[in-house]
Point group: C2
Chain length 433, copies 2
Amino acid sequence: MALVVQKYGGSSVSDAHSIKRVAKRIAATKRAGNDVVVVVSAMGDTTDELLDLAGQITPLPPQRELDILLTSGERISMSLLAMAITNLGVKAKSFTGQQAGLMTDAVHGRARLVDVVPHRIRETVEKGQVAIVAGFQGVSSTNDVTTLGRGGSDTTAVALAAGLDADVCEIYTDVDGVFTADPRIVPSARKIDRVTYEEMLELAASGAKVLALRAVEYARRYDVPVHVRSSFSSTTGTLVTGTHGDAIDPNAPAAEEETQMEAPIISGVAHDRSEAKITVVGVPDKPGTAARIFEVVAGTGANIDMIVQNVSAAHTGLTDISFTLPHADSPSTLAALNALQEELGFASLQYDDQIGKLSLVGAGMKSHPGVSARLFGALRDAGINIEMISTSEIRISVVTREDALDDAVRAIHTAFDLDSADGEAVVYAGSGR
Amino acid sequence: MALVVQKYGGSSVSDAHSIKRVAKRIAATKRAGNDVVVVVSAMGDTTDELLDLAGQITPLPPQRELDILLTSGERISMSLLAMAITNLGVKAKSFTGQQAGLMTDAVHGRARLVDVVPHRIRETVEKGQVAIVAGFQGVSSTNDVTTLGRGGSDTTAVALAAGLDADVCEIYTDVDGVFTADPRIVPSARKIDRVTYEEMLELAASGAKVLALRAVEYARRYDVPVHVRSSFSSTTGTLVTGTHGDAIDPNAPAAEEETQMEAPIISGVAHDRSEAKITVVGVPDKPGTAARIFEVVAGTGANIDMIVQNVSAAHTGLTDISFTLPHADSPSTLAALNALQEELGFASLQYDDQIGKLSLVGAGMKSHPGVSARLFGALRDAGINIEMISTSEIRISVVTREDALDDAVRAIHTAFDLDSADGEAVVYAGSGR
């Protein structure tokens, strides 16, 4: 008998009909002999509707009150789901974040978990009942309601799975799992059967939206096996664990194993259109200048991604520094740099919001120079110019023109033999959240 | 500086616009130098919409889950109200029933308060902030969310006023106060300036809907002054307290006081169309028969109101027993009695759902036989037949044909000089809840 934590997002519980459908799946999991704990998000557009109501009241709602408002959404979905499961003859009870023991700090709107004390959830499960837990929410040490921010329900699910020592945390979404690329761009993209936490972190950080970055971090820290799968089918999805295991190609002949042992294992190609590039032009190439620039940038709270500094031109002693950051962080960053132009001594600022980022993620990349060579070659053959490059142990990212991004993703997907063998189109229902 | 508890019902916070209007009134009360605690119901039709959602899931939702579902309504209204008040420059925080310390038993759907521990509310008020509390909800000793049932928000407000030792509990509604009769039936009905707990209890029990019976009971027990008033005007409403005080006619000359001291003080005429009458015909007139009949009725949980037993006909030794009860309780009661017809030995059952009940409420009635004589005389003059009579210390109720009820209310209202002196029409916006 396994203990399974299942998380259903808002699109899986958008109305009474879909709540009943999800309830059937939960009841079936329970009847198959498992203990089941369910984490649920607010129904469909509830959160947006509540935000709209708040917007009608004030443009600047206090974050504490916004948290109380938004958490009513899960209260509705979780009680309805418990009713639907009970109606199928399986006992179920719903619990708020506070009741489930999800203790957080007091930073409303983006609270961090500080402890998970799921006594009541454990008791409920031990009684043979299904426990439904509100996603996205917790309670502070002062008994105030908090929310975990973006991707919060994924984090709730993984944290509960860790706290309950569950056998697996299933993240149900509207796609079949994690893909080698976005199937809307690469129709031949394949579902990835198995991926490590580290690779999933890089994929999530590089634009893959199917699983929240924070939940992956949590799963990695507590070694929680995560299964990303579709709530619309019973297909096996993508298993995220500490190692690749032997699941990549279970049918491969044993002889091949040895040769593959040290080969790089490419997980997939992620892309991201949410960033812009700022270039600080004509920076005096002397110690401390770059440090001072990034102090200023950090002071605005901007989330810097890639940084590139050109080799300085010997005859001028000046260099250019470029970095990427989310579009939303750009105005405040440009303003902060402009205000200190004299002090920093640079010539000018350039702003470019027409960039795209492509990331190739996989194990063993760094030790295989052939990987970057093949990537650069494929882009050259496709006539795509590379504007920035950044690498990690298991990722190579390049910045291209935004309108060349789709072609770049397809070229790299093909170059690394990621296209599905039989060329069949993969069913893809939209981007998961 | 006074501590004021204000309660706003769903019709006062039906949309963003009305929430902002209510916020202005609260901010003004605060700026006038008062400490303010606000109890708020769910917005307009929220509760009905949530019940409808539950109905789409299952015809028999578990009551515990229904409580979690319904309490999301106050979570929305209270956080929006706190935002609106904050937006006016007055600090405000909202609190759930659990956070406000409203401890109840575990009877979901109609929990009773067992303790009120409003530490956080007191702290908030002491910091000079407005505390907004969710009406209708509490928490059980097992940390489960409960609801207080019908009129629950009124009860929350009175209980908090008692627990905080507030100077007054203001119940805001969409009418100007408690009236001498329903102004939709008696256009000349007057607003009652002051009424005692006992009279208000009788009025509420006799069909006046402006204040929940249970809240009045609570106010009486803890001696909380309750001010029923309109959220659409700043007019003084009806003050419900332990005595009539001297507020009935503050302008009356002192000489009149003595002569009025012992005179009956008529508060008003209430009416009720929600009851039906069951007559048990041909009951053997021997000891224990009536007791057995009402044991059977009590076993169904029916809420018996008036009981009348005819004098038995000497030649038959048989009598008839009639009683009134809510329409909704009738089917089960009729079935229970029918099943025991042989044992109880009665001849037949009669059911009549075309009755109306009129109640005249006021102090000093019992000791003034002239009151009932005037009442019966007025009905006779209006050609209205009386079918049942029941009296208490401060109430006389009569049952009439339902279609004669409005005429009866008007006749009694006039006979007891309750019509407003200047005959002006009273503005009446509907029945309060």
